[in-house]
């Protein structure tokens, strides 16, 4: 019974909309423009967040975390100062302790970092980011090598004078010849080029290709023992498979690795329960926090502006529905006289405005999908329209239709039957 009423109402509504295609389509167009705007804004922000995620992953490794003395960023100056006061530096013996108690949950690679010039022949690359590290970093940070290889365990144990160059440095020092096998100079010592890192591009305006990788012991020979180390960690990759199929399971293993690192460090520093960590663990999530905040602020500004567009569209649909009610005054009067209830009329009017709005919403969605596809193809970007975005944008259109129908519906069911019938 109830369903029949609704179906009938939708049928009436559809006929009324079809009878005045121009009016209905202008109402739908208004909603379409608003919905398309919403979808484009949301997808654009999504794409920005995705881009940020990828760049941080490139700079960091997807599932890696870092044990460090103090993580800068995201904390107030006071917290930072407290941490500086309490947290001890991470030493080589800390790293050895971590390694000894790694179990099967986690692999570690220590990293010592400083800036130094890299020279070859008459050419010098200023202020390269020189990293002393171990072979395990290759796996932990998913470093991609374009030519040659990364530092091996053998290089590590021999403290070999070998180096893997970032793309900017390789370009600058070897404009016309193959860098592999050549010997560059860092801090007055010769390092044989064994590998070239794949080009990483930039993250937030800084190049990620100014990196140089050498074995940690060679680093210490060149620069002296580093005062403070960072330790990269990651849950070991099983079966040599670098991309586990089950992402959820992977997330759990990352947490387990992080947990193991934390408990090991706490044991090492002999921290009683209840005392806070005297070290920091940076996760990709934390590193992403900044970008997230920027995206949140942008959407905080963009959302109300897009909402105003939807509001304007609601007004337009209200108007078209109102006109439709006015034009059908007589018809409504006759139907009321023949026994149609107020509720039926209300339902019918709201169905009409919802129909127009949802049709417009679908049109807007289709148009924005087209724009996204076109822009994606033209600019070579990945701009996926998410199913959730599509769903709630249609939902927003339907709700707009509902709101737009309220006032006209009230006008319609308040009509006096006698005057309505008498009207021309």
């Amino acid at each position: 019974m109830r369903r029949r009423v609704i179906v009938e109402a939708i049928g009436h509504a559809a006929r009324s909309a079809v009878a005045h295609p121009l009016r209905a389509s202008l109402g739908a167009l208004a909603i379409a423009v608003a919905v398309a705007t919403l979808v484009l804004v949301v997808t654009g922000l999504d794409a920005f967040a995705g881009y940020a995620r990828r760049t941080t992953a490139r700079a960091f490794g997807t599932d890696a975390f870092v044990v460090t003395r103090v993580a800068t960023g995201g904390v107030s100056r006071k917290e930072l100062a407290e941490q500086l006061e309490q947290n001890g530096v991470i030493t080589r013996s800390d790293v050895r302790f971590l390694d000894r108690h790694a179990g099967r949950d986690v692999v570690y690679a220590p990293v010592a970092q400083r800036r130094a010039d890299v020279a070859f022949g008459g050419l010098t690359f200023d202020n390269a980011n020189v990293n002393g590290t171990s072979a395990a970093l290759f796996e932990i940070r998913e470093i991609s090598v374009a030519g040659g290889r990364f530092i091996s365990r053998d290089d590590e144990s021999r403290a070999a004078q070998v180096v893997v160059l970032g793309a900017d440095i390789a370009d600058a020092l070897f404009p016309s010849r193959d860098p592999l096998g050549q010997v560059v100079r860092i801090a007055g010592r010769g390092f044989r080029v064994i590998g070239l890192q794949e080009r990483q591009g930039t993250a937030g305006g800084t190049s990620l290709d100014r990196y140089v990788w050498i074995p940690l012991q060679a680093f210490e020979r060149a620069f002296g023992a580093a005062a403070d180390l960072q330790v990269f960690g990651r849950a070991p990759v099983q079966g040599g498979d670098r991309l586990p199929a089950n992402a959820q399971d992977d997330g759990r293993r990352t947490l387990a690795g992080e947990d193991r690192a934390r408990t090991t460090m706490r044991a090492r520093r002999q921290l009683p329960p209840g005392k806070r960590d005297t070290f920091d663990i940076i996760t990709p999530d934390a590193a992403r926090g900044f970008v997230q905040r920027v995206a949140e602020r942008t959407s905080a500004a963009a959302a109300p502006i897009s909402a105003m567009a939807l509001l304007a569209a609601i007004v337009v649909v209200t108007n078209t529905t109102l006109v439709s009610v006015t034009e059908r005054t007589r018809e409504i009067g006759v139907r009321r006289a023949l026994g149609a209830r107020r509720r039926d009329i209300t339902l019918e009017v709201i169905a009409e405005s919802c129909l127009v709005a949802v049709a417009g919403g679908s049109g807007g969605l289709a148009a924005s999908a087209g724009v996204l596809w076109g822009a994606g193809a033209a600019l070579g970007l990945d701009l996926p329209l998410r199913a959730s975005t599509a769903t709630w944008s249609l939902g927003a259109a339907a709700i707009s239709g509902l709101i737009a129908g309220l006032y006209p519906a009230r006008r319609a069911n308040r009509l006096d039957v006698i005057t309505a019938i008498r009207q021309e």
Binding site: L84, D126, N127
Partner: protein, 425 residues
């Protein structure tokens, strides 16, 4: 003659259309009000967004103007002096405070030179905090300043005085503090004459600077400033080696002063003719210009987004005009049949649409100003008056939207076949 006649015709048509538009609004009030409301929403969005953008921009601009518009700032890095150096500039050595003397000695377009020494927020692994009795502020902006610094940047003193030259030269323990810091440390008491401790040393407050006008969302770091004599800072904080030189030009000679500063600094830094500058000179205007360039894109996108509402408002107007034209088919047919030129019909409908949407525009601007006034109550320094260009553009665009939206229905109406139209029920 022809011109006069046509202008009179135009005026008649306008008056007639206004009358007809008034009639149609009176006969269908709900419909017209809704059409106008659509435009109102669009204009409110655009004007309000423009107003907020202009406010933020002006406040930020003021932030830099307060450093003195006639000054040239010299620093060894490009960009924000409180950010770490970029990789390319990491090698640059800070400027030296003694350069100020050399610059002043070169005379010419340079009137005087002030020195500002930046103290990092964290010294010896501890955040600098200022204390007075039981009160504490953990975020003072500590800096060293030469005795002429406050005059060069045109700082206004709420109470007290700047450092004397003797205090600067002898490294005296005196301080000039910003308004927020004074409130944090002394509440409503008078700050001048009191003392404060910073990093284990006691300083006497000799001056308090009046609250700054500019800011970023109502915040101005300069209000938390804790200035000590530059020499005192160099003695007390060995990490503080970042020096900003404020070169005050002779009236109207800022560009000459800039060139002169560049030449002197190049000589002092022993740069060869082919070397690039290893320092950056900027002025309040140049900083604001480059900020404007950066923010122009953002502003444009935001305004475009806001304009979507206006487009939708236009669709609403078009809709009402389509309906109105259809309802008046017979009337139009009659007018055409008795010899009204088609152009008159066209003009009438376009003008009607324009009148509707301009009414919406006026109401929208009024609403935006009202909302701006409300915002002004909550945000200090927010100017409720929207920028003139936004109001003008809003009105012109709303009128234009009406013309564009009204044109198509109007053309349809003016092309009616009178015979068909008269037969229309």
């Amino acid at each position: 003659m022809a011109l006069a006649r046509s202008s009179r015709d135009w005026r008649n048509a306008l008056a007639e259309s206004a009358g007809l538009a008034g009639d149609s609004i009176r006969s269908q009030p709900a419909r017209s009000v809704l059409a106008i409301l659509g435009i109102v929403i669009g204009i409110v969005t655009v004007v309000l967004v423009a107003s907020i953008l202009a406010n933020v921009r002006n406040q930020v601009a003021l932030l830099f103007r307060e450093l003195g518009t006639e000054n040239v700032f010299a620093f060894h890095l490009t960009g924000d002096p409180y950010s770490p150096p970029s990789e390319l500039e990491a090698r640059r050595k800070p400027l030296e405070a003694s350069f100020a003397v050399e610059l002043e000695r070169s005379r010419g377009a340079i009137r005087e030179v002030a020195v500002q020494v930046l103290v990092p927020a964290i010294v010896n692994n501890r955040a600098l905090a200022a204390r007075a009795g039981s009160r504490e502020s953990d975020s003072p902006l500590v800096e060293g300043a030469s005795s002429n610094f406050f005059e060069v940047v045109g700082a206004e003193f709420a109470a007290g005085r700047p450092f004397t030259e003797l205090e600067d030269r002898s490294g005296a323990h005196v301080a000039v503090i910003g308004a927020s810091l004074a409130r944090a440390l002394y509440g409503n008491r008078r700050a001048v004459g009191e003392s404060l401790t910073l990093d284990g040393e006691t300083y006497f407050v000799v001056g308090e600077i009046a609250p700054r006008k500019g800011g970023f969302f109502g915040e101005n770091r300069q209000d938390s400033v804790l200035s000590l004599p530059a020499v005192t800072v160099r003695k007390r904080f060995s990490d503080a080696d970042n020096v900003v030189l404020y070169v005050r030009a002779q009236p109207g000679q800022r560009e000459a002063a800039r060139a002169q500063t560049e030449a002197v600094l190049r000589r002092l830094r022993r740069l060869k003719a082919a070397d690039e500058n290893d320092f950056t000179l900027s002025t309040a205007d140049s900083i604001i210009r480059s900020l404007d360039q950066v923010s122009a894109g953002v502003a444009l996108i935001t305004l475009a987004l806001a304009a979507v509402s206006l487009v939708i408002g236009g669709i609403g107007i078009a809709n009402v005009q389509v309906i109105s034209a259809r309802e008046r088919t017979r009337e139009i047919g009659l007018r055409l049949a008795v010899g009204a030129p088609r152009r008159d019909v066209l003009t009438q409908f376009v003008l009607e649409a324009a009148i509707l949407s301009t009414a919406g525009g006026l109401a929208g601007v009024a609403c935006a100003v009202g909302i701006g006034l409300l915002l002004g109550l909550f945000l200090s320094g927010f100017s409720a008056v929207p920028p003139a260009w936004a109001v003008a553009a809003g009105l012109v665009v709303s009128c234009g939207v009406g013309v564009v939206a009204g044109y198509w229905p109007a053309r349809q109406a003016s092309r009616l076949d009178p015979v068909e139209a008269l037969r229309y029920e």
